[in-house]
Symmetry: C2
Subunit: 250 residues, 2 copies
């Protein structure tokens, strides 16, 4: 039993309209002996956003009075706060240098995912409008270009409650169920598992970060081979969002 | 750039005193062409606990009145609640079928990690008393048996706030810094990263689960090859615990 995680580099700048599917297929040919059916392709949200033109010049952003106030309270740039608020449904918590929001897609994270790192100078990158749709498109385009049936995961680097440090998680998914429901399976002793729903897509995103984060920032793609997953053409990363009512940790 | 994750099976029952280091070295010889310097060995807390005799017969546990009350409120077995409370420093939240505690080691999780799955019939398994110490011992024993310098991660399956499904995280670490501090590194555009502390040990635990959870429950070990990490003889998974004061998500 063996899983392989290959890092795939991208050369040059990712501009709006960049053909990610083609770059992935060519990169996988170089690094992973080509794509195979059943591979999982993990792409950072950052490059997906760039290819989709989700890059904003900060000098063109006019912060509202509220954004100015939040910027003051959190020590952030008012333009970044303005963008984060535009991308948000609600503020979950703010203060001590942090602005935690629930974004338009339902993810709870810092600054609605608005990020100036690995963004062109003076710019911020917003998350893809609909990462599940982006993943689906990418999956279809890869099928067209390479004739391979893969799953696609769009990953994002996020802090989390209770534990220090960031990990990469899945915010977009196509072709694989993000959660593997193992309830009812027998354990070593024949006991039926009662609570075992594994967030495979998140684990896949974290495994990908081991090559993505290890190399230079120019490795935004990973190909993961050897993971058995449940195929699902309708799959969505949104399944990983936990409704507040059912969240005992909060 | 390539990372490999090998699953290693254990045959037979893990009893108190079981020589895990020897089993790991032999298993790695079979499945991963032997251990190499720099490999990361991930072991589930379950087998570490079993080897350390952290298995309790439920019929010998006398629940307190408080445990009985909590059991009623949460729908859990009173004996399991009793053990969870004995392993706890405080109850973080309870109700709706859940008992979230901060355990003696400082981890916040369901039932203080007390688990009846993959436990002998009528028994519960407690977490290792000091998973960092267990990891350190294992690392030293592997060095003795195989003459290899590896890092060791002890993993546990945990639910988490905000996101559905469980992932494996690190609760014990030896030989590698659990967090890779990338603050100050330059991004693609020369911008210095301000917030980038990657919880590598957690990502490693999640990557391991891709082979551990995929196979039968009899694969409690993974060997991960190709991850560059910062060696640290003093490293502890405890570094991943987030103090409540600094946790904006809570």
């Amino acid at each position: 039993m063996k899983v392989e995680v290959y890092g795939v580099k991208l050369d040059g700048e990712v501009e709006p309209g960049f053909d990610l599917a083609k770059a992935i297929v060519e990169g996988a040919a170089r690094e992973a002996d080509g794509l195979r059916d059943g591979d999982i392709v993990v792409v950072t949200s950052k490059v997906v956003s760039k290819a989709e033109g989700r890059v904003v010049e900060l000098s063109r952003v006019q912060p509202s009075y509220f954004a100015e106030a939040v910027a003051k309270a959190t020590g952030k740039a008012p333009e970044v706060v303005e963008l984060a608020l535009r991308e948000a449904k609600r503020v979950v918590r703010m203060g001590r240098g942090c602005l935690i929001t629930e974004d338009l897609r339902g993810w709870i994270s810092a600054n609605s995912g608005v990020d100036v790192s690995n963004a062109p100078r003076g710019c911020a990158v917003l998350l893809p409008i609909d990462p599940d749709a982006s993943a689906r498109r990418l999956r279809e385009e890869i099928a067209k270009v390479a004739g391979r049936k893969v799953a696609v995961v769009i990953s994002d680097t996020q802090g989390r409650p209770l534990r220090r440090g960031q990990v990469d998680v899945a915010i977009g998914v196509a072709g694989m169920k993000p959660i593997r429901d193992r309830r009812g399976e027998a354990d070593l002793y024949g006991y039926r598992l009662k609570v075992k729903e594994v967030a495979v897509a998140d684990e896949v995103a974290s495994a990908a970060e081991l090559v993505i984060g290890q190399a230079s920032e120019a490795t935004p793609i990973a190909v993961i081979r050897g993971v058995t997953y449940e195929e699902d053409a309708e799959a969505e990363a949104k399944r990983l969002q936990r409704a507040e009512e059912e969240d005992l940790f909060l």
